[in-house]
């Protein structure tokens, strides 16, 4: 059943193949046949697998079971494999891929060595949003001036640390259950145990369970990156994993790294009464954001709060508090490496980014060499081995490939892979993936920053224009007394293409999608500017941008999409 379904989709024309497919320049169905042959060639290992009584034997009986499962959603197993698709890692990326695979009729299994949901749900985006929801309210209630401007009176706002921590923990549990249930409902097999690649199309999980699949997706994610010299004790020197449990609210916490993670935690900690010191290796805070946005964000999120910072320095050594001594942080100049300063603080949060979790994955079995831990992939998430050639049937999505370390990017990559393995070529446009930082107010962005766009424009010979608007000009924002913020759009005036949009202001994270969808679908400004926005809403901030943009009159309106390959 699954096979015949796949066959029909293979007949679809394949546009991109001719230009980019260096390895698979042959028609796709042939490639499929070739792989089948390859799979048969590995029959000895298949038989080896059959000998093990612990694994699912694709006998007639179990086939019946699977067939009945397929009526629930999950596909029937292919003839010579246990599964069509095995996903190693049940984080948000793996989950997104699994759901889409079932929709495509693939027999799917997902292997999880820890807890379903991965970093995002258990130790990342989800619990941090719970903490930020609290911090946002605390900040608002403590802002007497803000309340007064509404005519509201609030007497001393306080919080119960355990209550806040419980909220974060409960949310994670709830989302984890939702995730698990959604996969169970569709009949995805959730296999528990640490998964690793044994060879082509073969995976081991747990102690010695071996299963085979037509295609394998590695989605093992990442762990907090701790630079050397820093001793994490989980109490006074912590990573985001510990911080999200909110076991304490220190008087003074140093946050190493001022990216998304560091910024969000500074928002939480300062709202709960801590004072914060940022330690940033680069010369300015919030690197990676559009410079204009980071400048404004610094004025709103850093300067007025109880935060100071050291830029251009590395924390070369951090010692946890013990024997009545505070946490000691030794700072060295990022360039000269000379000792610069020593800080004594109550706690230190290491938010220096995340390292891929790819150890023990058995990558050597398929001759894959990681680069700084990341698994190299091409633009279709196909894993590249040590010789620079593609490993057939092996894909890697999410943080483990390091392309764009965001939960929704992993999910999008997973869906893209499923599209490919179910016969429809798909290349994900990473420039259309939005990103958000959930501070108060929020920061969001999609596409290129202004300097990046200008550089690209210079190289490729097109003009780049920028248009900006302020939240102070938005009725809804003013009604909320949240006029602080700007939105800017970077675009090509010659054809109306949106190159990037950056928003800093109330609900920026929710607002960005109009722009990211426009980029993903190739919608041009001259078309989208005619679309109507409800009044008064925050979405009019973007409407303002579209309408203020000056697209040259000769640019044609078009609705056909033109994909941008990254």
């Amino acid at each position: 059943m699954a096979l015949s379904f796949s066959q029909t989709s293979f007949t679809r024309p394949n546009h991109v193949l001719g230009s980019t497919g260096s390895v698979f320049s042959t028609p796709r169905s042939l490639r499929f046949c070739g792989l089948r042959r390859e799979a048969f060639g590995f029959s000895p290992s298949n038989q080896l697998a059959l000998r093990s009584d612990r694994i699912r034997i694709p006998s007639r009986k179990s086939f019946q079971v699977f067939a009945s499962a397929s009526s629930n959603g999950n596909g029937a197993p292919p003839k010579s494999f246990d599964y069509d698709l095995i996903i190693i890692g049940a984080g948000v990326g793996g989950h997104g891929a699994a759901l889409h695979a079932v929709e495509k009729g693939l027999k799917t299994a997902i292997i999880e060595g820890d807890v379903v949901g991965g970093t995002c749900v258990n130790r990342g985006c989800v619990p941090s949003k719970a903490l930020l929801a609290v911090s946002g309210r605390m900040r608002e209630l403590q802002n007497e001036h803000h309340m007064k401007s509404f005519g509201l009176q609030v007497s001393a706002a306080g919080y119960d640390r355990q209550g806040v921590a419980d909220h974060a923990n409960n949310l994670a549990t709830k989302i984890r259950n939702n995730l698990t249930n959604s996969m169970k409902a569709l009949g995805v097999d959730i296999l528990t145990g640490f998964g690793s690649v044994l060879g082509p199309q073969k995976v081991k999980y747990g102690k010695d369970n071996i299963i085979t699949a037509k295609d394998i997706i590695i989605a093992t994610g990442s762990v907090p990156f701790v630079p050397k010299g820093i001793e994490v004790d989980g109490k006074t020197v912590i990573t985001s994993d510990h911080a999200l449990k909110l076991e304490s609210v220190p008087d003074w916490i140093a946050i190493v790294g001022s990216g998304y993670i560091g910024l969000e935690f500074s928002d939480v900690y300062t709202a709960l009464g801590s004072e914060v010191t940022f330690i940033e290796a680069l010369d300015q805070l919030m690197p990676g954001f559009d410079p204009e946005i980071s400048k404004l964000a610094q004025r709103v999120l850093i300067n007025p709060r109880k935060i100071d910072y050291h830029t251009g320095v590395f924390a070369s050594k951090i010692t946890p508090a013990k024997d009545g001594k505070p946490v000691l942080i030794e700072l060295i100049d990022a360039k000269t490496k000379e000792p610069k300063d020593t800080l004594e603080v109550d706690a230190a949060l290491i938010a220096t980014g995340r390292a891929p979790f790819t150890n023990g994955l058995g990558l050597e079995n398929v001759n894959v060499v990681t680069q700084r831990g990341f698994i190299p992939v091409d633009e279709r998430m196909r894993v590249i081995d040590g010789n620079g050639t593609l490993v057939p049937n092996l894909y890697c999505i999410g943080d483990a490939n390091g392309k764009l370390m965001l939960a929704h990017a992993a999910s999008a990559q997973g869906i893209s892979v499923v599209e490919q393995v179910s016969g429809r070529d798909h290349v994900l446009n990473h420039l259309s993936i939005p990103a958000a930082c959930f501070t108060h107010p929020e920061i969001s962005m999609v596409g290129l920053t202004e300097p990046q766009a200008k550089e690209k424009g210079e190289k490729e010979g097109f003009k780049v224009s920028v248009v900006k608007t302020s939240f102070k000009a938005n009725t809804k924002a003013l009604a909320e007394n949240e006029g602080e913020g700007i939105a800017k759009m970077i675009y090509r005036p010659d054809n109306g293409e949106i190159l990037g949009v950056h928003i800093f202001g109330l609900h920026a994270a929710d607002l960005i999608h109009e722009a990211s969808n426009a980029i993903a679908l190739g919608t041009r400004i001259q078309d989208i500017k005619l679309a109507v926005h409800a009044h008064p809403t925050l979405s009019e901030v973007l409407d303002e941008l579209f309408k203020a943009a000056k697209v040259e009159s000769h640019a044609t309106t078009r609705t056909v999409s033109e994909k941008v390959v990254v």
């Binding site: 004072e275 004025r299 935060i307 100071d308 505070p326 000009a473």
Partner: protein
């Protein structure tokens, strides 16, 4: 947006180098200077057609920074939006004339731009020494702009403790001699704002760290004036044990009055009043905004009307005055002191108006907006600590009045009634302190008896 901002730099003023004089344009002192260099003024730009003044949100550059054409120098908040103001000349930001948070009218100078590094000093001199006189043929002089900032409190706080500015927040201030300064981020921020030097400060935080309240304490210690100002800038600091705190104006006034009261021979008479009827009445009319304080004041006023001597006052020791009106003052504790708003003609005003008046007075007292006649015209004072559960206490007689009544809490008590039974009644104790030069024991006794009868049968309170 940058197109809008082409205005900040108006034609510059030519200033001969090495000229100490602030006067330019009009009388250029002929000196032996080979190079004519330029110091330009940076003006507050008009960012919108309706903008008359702008607030400096932040200086992107600091004094001494090199500026390249097109770079952002300052962020200005207009009536509509915050905008970056760019420079259209290369040079050095020599002197900032309007600090962050300050407001300057459109067209006034907010900073000086020197063309070369050598001219920074000249520009600085120009900025500081300039004073009010002559700032070239432009609009208002820069000092006017500096005087403009909204944050006046800061300026008051600054002088007494003014010391050199603390290093920028990006730098941990490490002092010489190997002794490092450990101060929390907020303490550093406050120190910069209040112009307190952290060196030599003893920290009270963990491991001797300097925390915000240490900085506040130093800033407050600079003088009474500063203390008051600081209070308005930052949250009230906690009680600093072991420190010497000078009296505020109010505390001073209270102290003087209390000492003065020692010249008056006073005595005290107490009375227990059953309040069941009053409580019932209060319950009934509470929803109409009537407060217990107003009810007590009213009852007292009605009793005073029948015993004018208790409402009299003796000021010189030779004579006394039967006061023409009954003004009941009620003691109120407010932040950092005590004040006695006065319910004037409490015997004549109806209970509802009296309650409204009381609420108004309390609000004004909290906001420190009471007019003198609203707190110093009392002829009789009421002090109630019943809400704290105090059952009895005695009060000190405020000078210039004849008597003060201390009211305790109304509490359920077991009492023997006249018909020989034991019953439960709500009772409160009152205790009147009076000036025995004019008010005698029997006067107070009769007054209290009248008061008790009014409270125990309170129908007269509502007319």
């Amino acid at each position: 947006m940058s197109r809008l901002l082409q205005t900040p730099f108006l034609p510059s003023v030519t200033l001969p180098t090495k000229t100490r004089s602030s006067v330019t344009g009009f009388r250029v002192k002929p000196r032996i200077i080979p190079i004519q260099a330029k110091i330009r003024e940076i003006f507050m730009p008009a960012l919108s057609s309706t903008m008359t003044e702008g607030k400096i949100v932040s200086w992107v550059k600091s004094e001494g920074d090199k500026l390249n054409k097109g770079e952002s120098v300052v962020v200005v908040e207009s009536d509509k939006a915050d905008m970056d103001v760019e420079t259209f000349y290369d040079g050095y930001l020599a002197a900032i004339m309007v600090e962050e948070g300050g407001v300057a009218p459109v067209g006034s100078a907010i900073a000086l731009l020197a063309e070369t590094e050598d001219e920074i000093a000249d520009a600085k001199a120009k900025a500081s020494g300039g004073g009010g006189d002559s700032q070239a043929p432009t609009s208002s002089p820069p000092t006017a702009a500096i005087e403009a900032p909204v944050s006046v409190e800061k300026k008051i706080a600054a002088p007494p403790v003014s010391v050199k500015a603390v290093a920028a927040s990006a730098v941990h201030p490490a002092s010489e001699g190997g002794k490092r300064i450990v101060a929390s981020p907020y303490a550093k921020k406050l120190a910069k704002e209040l112009k307190v030097e952290l060196a030599g400060l003893v920290g009270s935080g963990p491991m001797g760290r300097i925390v915000a309240k240490d900085v506040e304490a130093v800033a407050a210690g600079g003088g009474v004036q500063a203390a008051v100002a600081v209070k308005e800038v930052v949250a009230a600091p906690g009680v600093e044990l072991g420190s010497v705190v000078p009296f505020t104006t109010m505390q001073g006034a209270v102290s003087r009055n209390m000492v003065e009261s020692l010249t008056v021979p006073t005595f005290r008479v107490g009375y227990t009043i059953t309040t069941d009827a009053l409580d019932a009445l209060y319950k009934k009319i509470k929803s109409k905004g009537v407060t217990m304080t107003a009810l007590l004041a009213k009852a007292t006023a009605l009793a005073l009307a029948k015993h004018p001597v208790v409402n009299s006052s003796c000021r010189d020791g030779n004579s006394f005055v039967y006061n023409s009106s009954i003004n009941v003052a009620v003691a109120v504790a407010i932040d950092g002191g005590l004040i006695t708003p006065v319910l004037q003609n409490a015997d004549k005003v109806d209970i509802y108006s009296l309650s409204r008046k009381w609420k108004e007075l309390v609000d004004k007292a909290r906001a420190k907006q009471l007019q003198p006649q609203e707190y110093n015209t009392g002829t009789f004072t009421l002090s109630n600590l019943g809400m704290f559960g105090v059952d009895r206490f005695d009060a000190i007689l405020p000078p210039g009045t004849g008597a003060i009544m201390a009211v305790g809490a109304s509490q359920p008590s077991v009492v023997a009634t006249k018909d020989g039974r034991i019953g439960m009644k709500n009772q409160m104790q009152v205790n009147v302190t009076a000036d025995h030069r004019v008010i005698y024991g029997s006067d107070l006794a009769q007054f209290l008896q009248t008061l008790a009868s009014i409270i125990e049968d309170p129908k007269d309170l509502t007319f």
